[in-house]
Point group: C2
Chain length 210, copies 2
Amino acid sequence: MDDDDVRRGQPTVHKAYDEWTAILAGDALLTLAFEILARDETHPDALVRAELVTGVARAAGGRGMVKGQMLDLAAEKRGEPSSPTVAHIGELQGLKTGALIACACEAGAILAQAAPGERAALREFGWQLGLAFQIADDLLDAEGDETTVGKATGKDSTAGKATLIGLLGLPMARTLLTETEQKAIAALAPFGTKAAILVEAARFAASRAH
Amino acid sequence: MDDDDVRRGQPTVHKAYDEWTAILAGDALLTLAFEILARDETHPDALVRAELVTGVARAAGGRGMVKGQMLDLAAEKRGEPSSPTVAHIGELQGLKTGALIACACEAGAILAQAAPGERAALREFGWQLGLAFQIADDLLDAEGDETTVGKATGKDSTAGKATLIGLLGLPMARTLLTETEQKAIAALAPFGTKAAILVEAARFAASRAH
């Protein structure tokens, strides 16, 4: 949808094949996600499976990721003359990335039939992880090298796209990234050393751009 | 995907808005279907909800409707020099239309927690209904008027697309439509007069082109 020719160093589907194939591959994979969540092998308790489907559908659909993508494209199309606020960009990025990552983390708690407090903690962790990922992505776009990043860089400023970096400047964006990483790690406190791998994930997401 | 400008007398989404919006609307609606199937209000038994999700996902996804659409586009792109058989077209149309209509009919049986035999009967009804719908659609494309049909007609022959009509000719295609309508109605025999509305549906699907 952003018309990139390259992802992770590989040609994108619409480049390697054509646009129809890319659209159908997207539909097939989106549908496959729900098939996998709902089938017996995923969890013996059907209520767990139904909750997973509902959670992913809410995070990915018209009030989640799709909405974020639509708002983003609409802003790009209008040329967005009015200055968006940090809160506005945060909401948009939350919809585009945060909601789905938060859902993925909460899904672990749903599968383990964890207590509501643990479920909320993992959700909060995922939300902050998503924000950190997105800020790091913007920093890489502003500063990174195409070969290392695996996709075209400098696109946001070329497109005149409103990002946190454009609004805050690089040093404040980097501070925000560190704060977000710390919030993600703090959310994991109730799990102690059991959450070590998730702490690593938060550090990795942020360190991509450090 | 077939680049039509009109559906049911209305401009298509990619015409009224743009292609991005059409893709995102498709993703949002596909996702919404699974959200609705999985949420509590749909059925008190979570196993029923999970079965509905699995059924729709299998019918719509990469081994169902998406596969049918992909095969159809691939054949169109190649110009399909080799003559496809009636069986081949039947399989393609079964994937594109039949699988999802069969699934919709079976879903009624799943929701009602009906016996396996009743579930199979409704599935068979849906499969034949889907075939009838597709044959009628081809007949309308070959013979219909754009204003009555609500979309562009004569597209298949213009595109040199292999259809049952091209292979069988109009009279045999009409005979096949009547036979398929009868098979659909026969599948409903176990339900007696309770299935009157479904008998009407089969008659309606076929009568569009009578």
